[in-house]
């Protein structure tokens, strides 16, 4: 089969180059997610540390916008390239040329499916966990950043973020949405972290044991760290 323009990678990149950008942006997103989590875990501190922290971020002025635009570009680059690659891969896989047989599962090209021996479930559903994360990010921004419906603390301009978080997560549906999204994120990172190291050629004989642990370790830390907040609000450990 020769080249076909609808099957190319954006900006004339090779699939290998594009995948390296996915890995770099993915790693940047992991770093952001860790920083974000550490900030949020201040909700467990007794005083209003979380509110002070939020206030500090908000008063960064233009710097805040630089960070926001930087993060947005990284996110858009990651999502854009992964969608392009995933679509290209579906074309490369092809469809079954038959009018009699119904493929058992979408995304399969063998009549009875392929019996995977080593591919992890997390690795096979990256686009799905990715889309869950994408939808969640929109919801999350609407929920906490764009329309924080909690009024500022009387007297000064400090927003009571802590109260807002506790109020939000006391609705079990809201907490449930957050927990599901964090499970998707953990699954994404479980495959993503190790995969990104492989994509960047950093998996060698000497780093191999560490690389395979990186995924599970980061997924566990980020998953448990983030999920602990809605769980502790629901169980009245933070109130």
């Amino acid at each position: 089969m020769s080249s076909n323009s609808s099957n190319s990678v954006p900006c004339g990149m090779t699939t290998v180059g594009a995948k390296m950008l996915v890995a770099l942006t993915g790693m940047a997103l992991i770093l952001f997610v860790i920083a974000h989590m550490l900030g949020n875990l201040q909700v467990f501190l007794p005083g209003d540390e979380l509110n002070q922290y939020a206030h500090k971020l908000k008063s960064m002025g233009p710097l805040l916008w630089v960070a926001r635009i930087g993060l947005l570009s990284v996110f858009v680059c990651h999502v854009g390239l992964t969608i392009a690659l995933t679509r290209r891969n579906a074309k490369a896989r092809g469809a079954l040329s038959s009018n009699e047989i119904q493929i058992r599962a979408t995304g399969e090209r063998y009549v009875n499916g392929y019996s995977y021996e080593t591919a992890t479930t997390a690795s096979r559903f990256m686009i799905h966990t990715g889309i869950v994360i994408f939808l969640f990010v929109i919801y999350h921004l609407l929920h906490f950043t764009i329309s924080p419906d909690h009024p500022p603390v009387a007297g000064d301009e400090l927003i009571d973020v802590k109260a807002m978080v506790i109020e939000g997560f006391s609705h079990s549906i809201v907490a449930g949405v957050y927990i599901i999204a964090q499970l998707a994120l953990a699954a994404h990172i479980y495959h993503g972290a190790a995969s990104a190291l492989q994509t960047l050629g950093l998996r060698t004989d000497s780093t191999k044991p560490g690389v395979s642990k990186a995924g599970i370790l980061l997924a566990a830390i980020i998953g448990i760290g983030n999920i602990s907040i809605p769980i502790c609000v629901l169980t009245d450990i933070i109130s």
Partner: protein, 251 residues
């Protein structure tokens, strides 16, 4: 002697619609190879005046890479070997009596007929970078270049790839990265490969993309399907070669 219920992909030509055809194959000994079982089926079909099933094969000793079937949902079947080196005892021992047979499927491997696919895309990848420059004249001594043993071993392991395409068949993305990386890694570990080192990785990756193979998402299913146990370590090597060719020293 065992009897198998076989379902096999039939497709009369590249653009025809295909279907799974059912057959009963009797009198199969555990020591017969998988392809001998299919020969048996084809003899039956010919006796009945029917068209035999087309499938690829050549050496039948696991070295040429011609045989290519997805057997019960696995490229080259349940063992780590080629289809021609798979024996019917593998099914007998596990009491498996139903066998589904399909071609290696990928857009870049169009079906020619039944279970025969066109894998010439691999040849074009090789043509684009799987060569080295040598001085003409007398053949150099085989031991003229000193190569450390670990390097030689790594190169040799990568060179074991027979270009069968099972990695593509097993990959959800129909990616050819295991194959291409075996070729790149083989020559990257040898001094003979140095002259074209920078160009090679680019040409081969570009050809791979142009042929319509998918991209690698590090599922690792290719390694499990590979009859020669080519390791995904080679994919890390290809990625390093790719970065090196962009930002590394020119020589």
């Amino acid at each position: 002697m065992a009897t198998y219920k076989v379902k096999i992909w039939r497709q009369s030509g590249p653009n025809a619609n295909g279907h799974m055809e059912r057959h009963i194959v009797k009198g199969i000994d555990g020591d017969m190879s998988f392809l001998e079982m299919l020969d048996h089926l084809n003899e039956d079909l010919e006796e009945q005046g029917k068209e035999p099933v087309a499938f690829d094969h050549d050496c039948r000793e696991g070295i040429c890479g011609a045989c290519s079937l997805v057997i019960n949902g696995q490229a080259h079947g349940p063992e780590t070997t080629t289809t021609c080196q798979l024996h019917m005892r593998s099914f007998e021992e596990h009491n498996v009596s139903e066998i589904d047979i399909e071609p290696f499927r990928a857009t870049a491997f169009p079906i020619i007929k039944d279970c025969v696919v066109d894998r010439s895309g691999f040849d074009r990848v090789i043509q684009s970078g799987g060569f080295v420059s040598v001085n003409t004249g007398n053949a150099p001594d085989a031991n003229a270049n000193a190569i450390p043993k670990p390097e030689a071993d790594t190169a040799f392991d990568a060179a074991a790839c027979i270009g069968c395409g099972a990695c593509v068949a097993a990959c959800k993305n129909a990616s050819a990265m295991l194959f291409v990386s075996a070729k790149v890694s083989h020559l990257a570990h040898l001094p003979q490969g140095d002259a074209e080192r920078r160009e090679r990785v680019h040409s081969m990756v570009n050809t791979m993309d142009k042929e319509g193979f998918g991209s690698c998402t590090n599922y690792g299913e290719c390694e499990a399907a590979c009859p020669k146990s080519i390791s995904t370590d080679n994919i890390a090597t290809l990625n390093r070669e790719f970065i090196r060719s962009k930002v590394g020293p020119t020589t």
